[in-house]
Amino acid sequence: MSVFLQQVVNGISLGSTYAVFAMGCTLIFGVLNIVNMAQGAFFMGGAYFGLEAARLGLPAPLALLVALVGGGVLGVLAELVIFRTLRVRGGHRWMGLVASLALARMMVGIAQEIFGTQVQRYPASTLLDTAWDIDGVRIQLLQIVILVVSIVLMALLALTLQRSSTGRAIRTVAYSEDVARIVGVPVGRTILTTFFLAGGLAGAAGMLLGNLFNVVSPFMGEQMLVKGLTVIILGGLGNVPGAVAGGFLLGLVEVFSVAYVSSSFRDAIGFGLIFLILLVKPTGLFSRFEERRA
């Protein structure tokens, strides 16, 4: 029993990093309907921002803030340099896909130059080293912190989207840029804000995962992008609570497929599950997307 419960803990803590990352993805892919392949690179960038901040001796919450803002700035830059430019010139959305893919590659290359290709770790701290044994189940302080952070971020984001004027602006732009313009929503600024939020969430997720598994490397974003896309399809495009639930679900599915089947089948089971869900519910598990857009 304790082995089973331990696996649940493992799945939830892995899932919470997926959830934070997927929230950013769902904003860009789902709400704005922009295909941004650099989202994984923001994740990697955030991990390095957080790492450098932690190495300068900043306490963990401040380092997380640095990672979040750093990721956000990367998101803003991507919008200004690539997506806005393409939009103004009437570029096709496939161009955005390729351009953002190129941006991601460039960022990986730059990170390689600055930080080297080797994996780095966060400095040891009480946050990393504190853990409790409860009935044979090991729970780390860090796992609890990451879970709380992911839930807080989800609540903040959901509130922002539903209640604030920024949120209303984002939803209006998502519905139609033309309509947004007619009703006086500053479209450019709203998209910029969304990119900041999405980049920030990716950056925060990068620092959380980097801490949890002690792995910061220029290549860490590549796999993550696929996970993020998986989760937002699972949870329903544009649905923030859906992205969070999807993140936890994917984390649990991965852990349990490794635990009870084999590591070789982990991705096959993860993606197989998506096929199944999409067959039964083509709009994702929790989607209210069509109504939301309407």
């Binding site: 304790s2 082995v3 331990q6 696996q7 493992n10 799945g11 803590s13 892995l14 390689q112 290709t117 080797q118 994996v119 770790r121 040891a124 853990a131 044994d133 090991r138 780390q140 995962l209 949890l212 598994f213 002690n214 792995v215 490397s217 290549f219 860490m220 796999q223 991965e254 852990v255 349990f256 490794v258 635990a259 084999s262 590591s263 070789s264 982990r266």
Partner: protein, 377 residues
């Protein structure tokens, strides 16, 4: 005038007798290492740095007379397709005499046959999978296969920790790690240690908690990891975080020896056991000069892959000297194969008849963040 003509005549005669020993010969040597592309870059960077250091030392010392080694370095990023392309270019366009590398065994299995067919020497410094040198008589390595060192580590651990059971975890999608797993399994069976759980992971994985939770549930006396340095470091760390006590020793593959292993593993890596050919404080004059030169040039510590890469270049240069140049390929190959008791940072170094390295194996444990020989404890 007469004198000039005579000396020209002599020079011509000498040149025609030993064309290979032509003065100021430029000997092109290829270095193929992965210096980007994740975990492999750890070893590739070491191999590349050490090879360049050795080449400059050899050129500076006049060991080869007026001949010079001209390094051509290429990064294969740990990708076997890229390794194949690079080998083709180095062999057919650059016409190198030897290739040092490639970093990964998977790349070696794809690219080495090209060199073998073209009769170009390959001396690997980090391939530890079985069957590397079996690809042909031009393929050598200075890195010992897992089977050369692991049984010694296990015997030591069995005696010290009174092991009855063990769990294994290994990278299932990596040739090197799969074979390391096979070697570990056989060694465990030979020692009569019961394997209570076997887990796998894949390249690029960062979360091993699911596998380690199962291992913890099986309650083994020891854990054996078939993984590279970064993976092994994280497995060790996550194992301890999950509450597998420090009293359960963790043993690793030769390939996991890296200063990075101890650094990434942190306190959790203390006591981690491996077998090796080399360690930093190995007491030999040749090793001291190597470590000092490496530190001076790169401002960081070498590891065993650096020592093996350094030895590979010296073994080649020594053979060039004995063969009187690189002109006669067959003679050069035979000279490399005849390497015997070469003074290396790992101690006396020889190749056996299978072109495998002959070096004294050493059992190392991480102590205060450094790989330290257990006998010195």
């Amino acid at each position: 005038m007469k004198y000039v003509a005579l000396s020209a005549c002599v020079a011509l005669a000498v040149a025609s007798i030993t064309p290979a020993a032509a003065a100021d010969e430029q000997i092109k040597v290829g270095i193929v290492q992965a210096t980007s592309g994740g975990s492999a870059a750890l070893y590739g960077t070491m191999g590349k740095n050490a090879a360049l250091l050795a080449i400059d030392e050899i050129n500076g010392s006049g060991m080869l007379g007026a001949s010079k080694l001209v390094p051509i370095y290429e990064d294969d990023a740990g990708d076997r397709g890229q390794a194949v392309n690079i080998f083709q270019r180095l062999i057919f366009q650059e016409k190198v005499s030897v290739i040092f590398g490639p970093t990964l065994a998977t790349s070696a299995f794809a690219a080495d046959p090209i060199a073998q067919k073209a009769q170009v020497l390959v001396i690997a410094n980090s391939n530890t999978a079985p069957g590397i040198t079996a690809m042909g008589d031009f393929i050598f390595r200075t890195s010992p296969p897992e089977a050369g060192v692991f049984p010694g580590v296990l015997r030591y651990a069995k005696k010290k920790f009174n092991l009855k059971t063990a769990a294994q975890i290994y990278g299932i999608d990596d040739t090197l790690m799969k074979t390391a797993y096979g070697v570990h399994k056989k060694a465990l069976e030979d020692e009569g240690i019961k394997i209570v759980d076997t887990e796998t992971f894949q390249k690029g994985d960062v979360d091993y908690s699911a596998q380690l939770t199962k291992i913890k549930g099986a309650n083994p006396d020891a854990i054996v990891i078939g993984g590279l340095a970064e993976e092994s470091a994280n497995i060790v760390r996550q194992a301890r975080q999950l509450g597998i006590p420090q009293s359960v020793p963790i043993m690793g593959a030769v390939a996991s020896i890296s200063t990075k292993m101890a650094e990434l593993g942190g306190a959790a890596a203390e006591g981690y056991l491996v077998g090796s050919t080399w360690y930093m404080s190995y007491d030999a004059a040749r090793n001291k000069s190597f470590v000092e030169a490496y530190r001076k040039r790169y401002n960081s510590d070498p590891d065993s892959f650096a020592a093996q890469g350094y030895t590979a270049v010296y073994a080649f240069a020594d053979a060039v000297k004995r063969a009187g140049g690189v002109g006669d390929v067959k003679k050069l190959r035979d000279a490399v194969a005849a390497t015997k008791n070469l003074d290396s940072p790992m101690g006396p170094f020889s190749f056996d008849t299978d072109r495998e390295p002959v070096i004294d194996p050493k059992v190392l444990a991480v102590k205060d963040g450094k790989f330290t020989p257990v006998t010195n404890e």
